[in-house]
Symmetry: C2
Subunit: 361 residues, 2 copies
């Protein structure tokens, strides 16, 4: 690594249109040879090799492009929320008990007690709508995923929003607006980065297509895939679905039993609920819904999901102080970056990914 002092001169035939006429050259630091990977290589090394020397891999033009797009996206998300009157919050990542049951938690030795890493700011953001009406948080969430897939990690950044006096329809609209806002900004300000990635994107048209869970099951049956009503739609199935649907689309009216306790069952048919997933091709980018806001229904739903109301004591209490009707969603920032950059492995778009087999660098 060298430092050069000199005069910058415009030279048309120079690769970047200018050259430096040096008056002083100083060695700032030494570099070890050979490097574990060549940051200028056209054919990049295997992903694991690159992740082992990630700090060097980040100098590759492709990695630079990905993370410049990510930086710009986070800024856009921030601006979107602030300019629309949302209130930024930071909820605790160390929690005393499970947020929703089901998904595996990482246990922490917390002084003499046991605690866990938060898998979502879900319950806190819901409660906070009673104090600040419209809230958002951009922060890490932690899941002890046992499966090794191209779109799950143990630590990711979640973009969470929650809003009082609205429902699923309302926040789906906000989600569409945010996605459109981000795409416009990336297309405007990251043209060079998209070229480096050989990626062409367009501002998605709104409203996004909406299919109910029932619609999806019917469509899959036509394609000779049978899913039992109530079951989740697997990744393999989603890949079939994505051949039928390009771009962004919502799946709505999920079976109540398949979604967490805090989702509001539909009034006219409580077997399905006001939950939605936002998909892009086969990737789930976001999920959200209208939340339960009645204390009694909340306790009933907690029990129906096989959970103990005592574990949610503080959360339930918040529903005794006048909880507004509310709705919200969470977007996986890293998955959204996969969609924008066209990368098929989430590890490409996270600086230092964490999974069951990778805890370093």
């Amino acid at each position: 690594m060298i430092g050069v002092r000199g005069t910058v001169k415009k030279i048309e035939k120079a690769p970047r249109g200018a050259e430096i006429i040096p008056t002083e050259i100083k060695i700032l630091n030494n570099v070890q040879h050979p490097l574990p990977l060549d940051p200028t290589a056209l054919a990049p090394a295997d992903l694991d090799v690159r992740l082992n020397s990630r700090i060097l891999d980040l100098r590759r033009p492709e990695s630079q492009a990905i993370f410049r797009i990510k930086h710009r996206t986070v800024s856009a998300v921030h601006d979107f929320f602030v300019s629309n009157g949302y209130f930024e919050v930071h909820t605790p990542k160390i929690i005393s008990s499970a947020t929703e049951g089901g998904a595996a938690l990482f246990p922490i030795a917390y002084y003499e007690k046991e605690a866990f890493l938060a898998q979502s700011p879900q319950l806190y953001k819901e409660q906070l709508t009673s104090a600040f009406e419209k809230v958002f948080e951009i922060g890490p969430i932690f899941r002890a995923e046992e499966s090794h897939t191209t779109r799950h990690l143990s630590e990711v950044i979640s973009i969470d929003m929650e809003e009082a006096f609205t429902n699923a329809e309302g926040v789906m609209k906000t989600l569409e607006e945010m996605i459109v806002y981000i795409f416009k900004i990336i297309i405007e300000s990251c043209a060079e980065e998209l070229t480096t990635l050989k990626r062409q994107i367009e501002v998605p048209k709104t409203p996004f297509a909406k299919y109910t869970y029932e619609d999806v099951l019917k469509e899959l049956r036509k394609n000779k895939i049978a899913i039992k009503w109530g079951e989740d739609i697997t990744t393999t199935t989603l890949k079939t679905l994505s051949e039928l649907h390009r771009g962004f689309y919502f799946i709505t009216e999920w079976p109540t039993q398949s979604k967490p306790f805090y989702i509001q069952p539909c009034e006219n048919n409580p077997k399905v609920c006001e939950a939605f997933d936002l998909m892009h091709s086969w990737i789930e980018v976001s999920s959200g819904g209208t939340r339960v806001h009645s204390k009694n229904l909340l306790i009933k739903r907690i029990k129906e999901q096989g959970l103990e109301p005592q574990s949610f004591e503080y959360h339930i209490k918040a529903f005794e102080y006048g909880m507004p009707p509310h709705a919200g969603w969470a977007v996986g920032l890293d998955r959204l970056i996969m969609v924008i950059t066209g990368k098929e492995n989430i590890r490409e778009v996270v600086l230092f990914p964490r999974d069951q087999f990778r805890l370093t660098p």
Copy 2:
């Protein structure tokens, strides 16, 4: 909790200058009586009682004012960095080994391995200057603090920056600029909140006063407080110091032995180093410095601090690929909010504080 539909009419003598002439009133949710605390009370309940019912406490005008100021501060920090060309990063909170030794870490059961919660993004942000030159991160850090004080918590939000091709002097200037920028914005946009808090603040004058560690020791000796050279300045002592110095001031040229291994010793006197703390009265708001950028010196300093270079294998490797000279700092967001709002307990300015004795709500 009720919903009212009707016509808003301007009425001068109404408390807020308007009244709603209702056409429809709907009960949105029930409220339990009596409430555990009165959110309109002039004399607020004890802090522990308030924190136990935090979601209700957050509706008090004073809490609303604090968190509106905090929200505005985070936005200002974000805008400051983005508009000055800093690159936003998210570094892992789950790490494989100690960041700097000394401070206590929370252990996590990470699949079959042991891992820890990051007490700082220090080493990652330093490495990232080699890929992105100027980086910042606003995120949680975790410290297993055994002491119960009014300015420490187990989980806080850290504002971290790191920059290539600069030194302590350079980043101290950036820190002054950011503080001034924040104060200007808060004074402009949070006048009502400051009034609620009965708080008057002024934009601090730059450059902030600078005292070396040596200066501080001399000054304390004059006030009959003896500190052995090399020892840290205790809180009690800082309180004496704060009677002599109002507002923001830097303490520079700390003993090398008292600071972490990654701080650059001064060239002409390696017993002291290019570290600084930014103080406001007796509160440490930030610490930072010029970092070591030579691999050999880094290994030497790690050993001198009684640590094992093997524990920092990945970090040291980053210094073999051409590490630029760099410097940076971390600001405790919550401490900065204490300074702005005049609150003397950090628990007042954190939504859901975590300490040795508090893990809920």
